[in-house]
């Protein structure tokens, strides 16, 4: 699950999941959900593979979200379904979605960037918790 938390000028995203794979998938869903508010209407007609190398979990989350943001910003691709596998070397992900359609997609925030401020990925008693603040 994910929720948004308060940060004065920007928006915080808090994600909880039983394992890292779901944590990263849920974080991406939360991010795209800031940009497109009705993710439920997004058709899964396009598939893209994303691969990121890295061992530091916080940087890995940062780079992952950045890549997903870039798919929207540069290719106008709205991704809504993420199958993520976090490994010792980084992550691989199969992402599905469709090109931006202004008629059907209800646009919310313009996300300028993922920030390092308060970026955390940590294990909890129930699984994993991540927090990230995005610049709006």
């Amino acid at each position: 699950m994910h929720e948004f938390f308060e940060h004065t000028a920007d928006l915080g995203l808090r994600v909880m999941a039983p394992d890292l794979n779901q944590l990263f998938a849920e974080a991406a869903t939360g991010l795209v959900g800031m940009i497109v508010e009705n993710l439920n209407v997004v058709q899964l007609s396009r598939t893209v593979e994303i691969r990121i190398a890295g061992t530091d979990l916080e940087y890995l989350l940062f780079d992952w979200l950045n890549e997903v943001l870039s798919k929207f910003e540069c290719e106008h691709l709205v991704l809504a379904d993420f199958q993520v596998k976090v490994t010792d070397e980084g992550l691989t992900a199969t992402c599905r979605g469709e090109p931006l359609d202004r008629e059907r997609h209800q646009l919310g925030h313009e996300v300028k960037a993922i920030t390092y401020h308060g970026l955390t990925v940590e294990q909890t008693a129930d699984g994993w918790l991540a927090e990230v603040i995005v610049d709006i």
Partner: protein, 489 residues
């Protein structure tokens, strides 16, 4: 998660200024100084903004103090409303966080020879046509297309490049801070991804707090200065607030990636990763500066093209050319930028060239400063302070106090009082556009949420912010501007 407040020392220096002594945390090289008022300082300690002012004082080469303007609020790394100057000859650093993601976010103000009574009968049509013709909102491209080669020239030359395309006139360049061009821009340092994000966004407003407003001069406080700028009571103006769009965001992001592990390599200890920096003279520092300047020049072109589109809409609605409507640019200021400037430092008044980081802060050079256009040299540099869309914005001029106290800097806006999530909660069940209409403002936005987050109550009262910088002698009130039409993302 409870919202952490600031519990450190805040010592009152005078009516307008509070000090966080450098003894507060080991690692602070200078004091923190916060410009505020009795009324607003109470709000400030509710979050981490003062802590961030203290953290900036860690930066190598920082001079005088880590400064904060009265519109200070919690950012990431640097607070918004923060100012710091670093001396390259004293190991000084350049920090992308001290500029922000939206490189050269800024404001421009255009006058006209129309008055409220002339515009009132056409107001709805005017605002609707602005909303239709000026691209706003997420992922919207603009009508101006540039080839990769043209985009490179645009990033090197700024709005001067647009002269040749018939999208700017010489006067527009003259009345833009730095004439819209930071020398030393290096498009080779701007990544393909940044170019990709920005290639069709030059001339688009974006979303968040960016806006284009039709304003009326509500009150004049300094007749002489207003006269020099061509402003009179009840006159119609257009204010534009936007920055470097996706291109600038990506330049900042790329720089932060490049700087991973770099502060450690130079032996720089930082309390927050978002303060990442590199010595000005380092390869990394120079790389960022080349890219930052390119993004800044792009941003000036963006505001130029936004203004151009506003002129076209006015010309169409009022059936006269923009020249006949005398829609001249009064001035354009950057409020997220780093500039290399000469300042007198400390008690000795030694003149040094320093990198002034303005993160949500505006240059406010006083009368006589050689870097302001001759027309304004007698009154000081115009400073444009956007407020919220229900109350007011301000036109100020720089004062001598800014050179003495804040590296020639003043505030940049109202500053948020409410987080975005809190503002949305506060707006549940309300029609912000109807409320604004009742206050005499026609507001058009791509989304309900956009208006909810930017509702007047989400901001501090800009009048209070301006009062502080006026009293502190950083800048002087010239005119208060009242919005009558606003378009947003």
């Amino acid at each position: 998660m409870p919202k952490p407040g600031f519990h450190g020392p805040l010592i009152r220096v005078n009516e307008c200024c509070w000090r966080i002594p450098k003894s507060y945390k080991p690692g602070m090289r200078v004091d923190g100084l916060i410009y505020s008022s009795e009324e607003m300082i109470q709000q400030l300690v509710a979050d981490q903004a003062p802590e961030q002012v203290a953290n900036v004082a860690f930066l190598p080469g920082i001079q005088h103090a880590s400064l904060a303007m009265p519109d200070l609020h919690w950012g990431y790394g640097f607070s918004i409303g923060g100012v710091c100057a670093t001396d390259p000859s004293d190991g000084g650093v350049i920090s992308p966080g001290g500029v922000g993601y939206d490189i050269n976010c800024g404001v421009r103000l255009v006058r006209s020879n129309l008055f409220f009574k002339d515009v009132e009968p056409h107001r709805k049509r005017l605002v609707d046509q602005l909303f239709r013709d000026v691209p706003t909102g997420v992922g919207r491209g603009g009508k101006f297309k540039f080839t990769p080669k043209e985009l490179r020239r645009l990033m090197v030359e700024g709005p001067r490049f647009l002269l040749g395309r018939g999208l700017a006139v010489e006067r527009d360049i003259e009345y833009t801070e730095a004439e819209g061009c930071l020398e030393g821009a290096d498009p080779d340092n701007v990544s393909d991804r940044a170019v990709e994000r920005g290639k069709d966004q030059c001339g688009t407003l974006g979303s968040g707090n960016h806006f284009m407003e039709v304003q009326v001069v509500d009150d004049v406080f300094d007749e002489d200065a207003a006269g020099v700028m061509g402003l009179q009571k009840d006159m119609i103006c257009v204010m534009i607030h936007s920055g470097s769009r996706g291109l600038g965001y990506q330049v900042c992001d790329d720089a932060l990636l490049m700087l991973r592990g770099v502060p450690e390599r130079y032996g720089i200890e930082l309390p927050d990763r978002q303060l990442a920096c590199a010595p000005v003279h380092s390869t990394e520092g120079q790389h960022y500066l080349g890219a930052m300047r390119a993004a800044a020049n792009y941003a000036w072109c963006n505001r130029q093209l936004l203004m151009w589109q506003a002129r076209e809409v006015f010309a169409s609605v009022f059936d006269r050319t923009w020249q006949e409507l005398q829609m001249d640019l009064i001035y354009d200021v950057a409020h997220n930028i780093a500039k290399f400037e000469e300042h007198a430092i400390g008690d000795t008044g030694e003149i040094k060239k320093v990198w002034v980081h303005r993160k949500g802060a505006t240059r406010a050079f006083p009368p006589g400063h050689p870097e302001i256009p001759p027309l304004y040299r007698g009154i000081g540099q115009p400073v444009l302070i956007p407020g919220d869309m229900g109350r007011a914005s301000w036109v100020l001029v720089g004062q001598a106090g800014s050179m003495e106290q804040t590296f020639g800097t003043t505030c940049h806006g109202a500053g948020r009082a409410m987080s975005r999530t809190a503002a949305v909660k506060h707006a549940q069940g309300r029609r912000i556009d109807h409320e604004l209409a009742a206050r005499g403002v026609i507001a058009r936005s791509q989304s309900w949420k956009g208006l909810a987050e930017e509702q007047p109550a989400a901001y501090k009262d800009v009048d209070l912010v301006v009062e502080v910088v006026h009293r502190a002698g950083l800048s002087k009130k010239v005119a208060r501007m009242r919005p009558i039409g606003v378009i947003k993302g």
